[in-house]
Assembly symmetry: D2
Homo-oligomer: 240 residues x 4
């Protein structure tokens, strides 16, 4: 687990994601990874041009997603091989459950109440992505699950860090600035680095080159599902 060193920044985070198993997966899935982290939705956030209604649909689905994401981490705790890993993964799960309360405060500023979000139907994109994650935990071992989870845990940090470092990002009067700042924060970076560290040493005891092709396939699918998720909740005919 990384210590919280004041001074760790988005920049060191962007170096970190090039390394180890995560770096290798990210390079080998570069097309899917770019389609996710440089999605049009992300560019519109950076320019502040995203329609508020699209953002609200996203926030609602993201709230519902976090419940499922916490479930997937709970499953990872159940599947971990060591007490240390159980504790690291339980910490992440706890963060997700705690951060949902911050999320709720943020959503309130956009006019979304928690009860409205809880009552919203799950979108096709949410169902596909979140149940892909929990099913990975059912079908595979903790390594399979952590690889699938890494696309979300690390990707949002990369989006935040990149947008905040990019001079083209509009900061003045951008209604999405706080959202970008949150994912570019040291807190988020530390948590994403912790995820990569748990992944790395799980790979050390459960990995092997033979497993890499299946892991890469899952990582690609997770990245594709992330790309689709930016537009989650916009297929109104599915939501009924």
């Amino acid at each position: 687990m990384s210590e919280k060193i004041p001074g760790a920044t988005a920049r060191t985070f962007l170096a970190h994601i090039e390394r180890g198993l995560f770096g290798r997966l990210r390079r080998d899935a570069h097309a899917e990874w770019a389609a996710y982290t440089q999605h049009e939705f992300v560019r519109c956030l950076a320019l502040g041009t995203l329609p508020a209604e699209d953002f609200r649909a996203f926030l609602t689905q993201d709230y519902l997603y976090l419940i499922q994401y916490a479930r997937a981490y709970a499953l990872a705790v159940c599947k971990a091989d060591t007490l240390d890993d159980m504790r690291a993964l339980a910490r992440t799960m706890g963060h997700v459950l705690d951060e949902m309360q911050l999320h709720v405060g943020y959503c309130a500023e956009w006019g979304l109440t928690e009860s409205a979000m809880q009552g919203a139907p799950e979108s096709l994109e949410l169902l596909a992505y979140s149940r892909f994650l929990t099913d990975k935990g059912l079908a595979g071992d903790v390594l399979d699950l952590l690889v699938a989870l890494a696309a979300c845990a690390v990707g949002y940090g990369e989006v935040g860090a990149r947008l905040m470092a990019d001079p083209a990002t509009v900061k003045e009067g951008n209604p999405y600035l706080r959202w970008m700042e949150e994912y570019a924060s040291d807190d988020y970076a530390f948590s994403a680095i912790a995820a990569m560290e748990t992944l790395e040493h799980t790979w050390a005891v459960r990995g092997g080159e033979a497993r890499y092709p299946l892991l890469l396939k899952d990582f690609r699918t997770a990245a594709r599902l992330e790309a689709a998720f930016w537009r989650a909740g916009q297929q109104r005919n599915f939501l009924g």
Copy 2:
């Protein structure tokens, strides 16, 4: 388990689906159920006007779906409370695995090889629906899982039976006739009736009115996912 009584027909099947827990779920989810079983895709099958390309996309995704559907039944075997239920569910799982070989033969007539279908990416609709099913088996008990599975097991039988009984259905020269006949067959009806019977007696030992609202919610979601699935594989940007 129903005996195979020669003379059981699509008509008796359509009476059967009105009864018991399944009948109640179907009535209470009538909007979602109609949107699924009377989908435009279904109407185009009946008239023979569906573009062949759409049908091929559907067949490919359906092949990939059946693998996941068999996994969900395997999980149901693991979760069943009695040896008799394990055997009934194992039989269904075996049928799915066997029928995939028939399916492969049928797909070949549409120019789809098994290896092409196996190599095709899973669509958003397939991921959403199939992983919703297996996740239901992870999160809930065998009753939760069987309710979710019933939408597929029974719905295709209803579609087949209704289309074949409908005088408006075009039979002469309809390239989709064989597909409709398969789901209107006595074999399929028996299997769907068996699914309703296992569901019914599982409800008898694991049910209770308190559970009905959650079960209905899941059944509605499954029906919505079925409706979405008719167009599975057509979001080409997701498939990459």
Copy 3:
């Protein structure tokens, strides 16, 4: 979730366990429950006559058990129907993981290091009990799992509360006094009451009289496994 009210005591706890679903299970499984909570091992703890070697074997297996118990609670988080339940169960899981560190301190006083305990083989009793719990989470729903978990969560509180309230319990010079005090503490009582409350409202949304026979059967099995567990780690031939 119960507030921590100073003044809640073992006595109010002993009234609490008579109520609701837990009270009913406990009454209907009275033979197994008495064999567990009034086991000879417990009586020897109360009199301070238990051989230290037996206690050490128990402590080692109890340490290993808590890892599995935390896994079972992690699975319950994954299976919970609401965010509130996820949080309540995650809190219990967190307590177990945290309390293991207190446990390690206590064990050190008995000459047991954490690494020695981690390296000890799991006993037959531990394997039977803990994997019965996690398998219950695989086979059933969150209600099945919580019923099985209640035997441990509540039973140790009852043992602690009863022993500390019993005038026959030897306090002066009893090497097991601190152990008894821990399970008779307000903290433990609050946590056990929280377990009964989560169980009770899960029963309200997932229960039904039809389910009671299977739930009672599992509760009986859990109580029998608890009774066997007092002697865990003493079948030396199994441990190899």
Copy 4:
């Protein structure tokens, strides 16, 4: 999957178990493996000196075990990476469910009815072993599960083949001869060889030297649990 070649014998089976991943695990766990496959219970079967009462207790627990063993194979079907593996594992699961009916016939000759066996309580040894298997499927991937399952699948074949090949085995008038013959049969050998083949190619795509230590640990535990299982059902105080 091995073809059924008439002429395959116990002898070729005994050569087979020396090879591949299974052979390596068996050698590295030789102490536990010998304690299981050359257990006193086995020697008493060979000499025909085992008390009938002990055998009946074993048969009852073995019946209950097979239900759980089939559940574990159902879970393996759900976890398999390919359709071919799903089919191979489904076949094994089907054999277990079918062979239980032969088993019931055999047990009837020993005065045990199916309903009596179904009503018998699960022993500590059965709970420990069978739930260790299903939990392995929950915690790990299909490779973890297949390694744990191999101890049973292959071990009984080895016991049967060795006893029938051993001139010291009493055949004349030995009431356990049919039991030994069943596990020395070509059918059983083929099925055990199939289990080793599925294990071997799963190791090829999911393995790696890094995983071997954990796999060996589980295999050792499974062998210890098998050794304990011969005496399953004899701790009458546990069974209540």
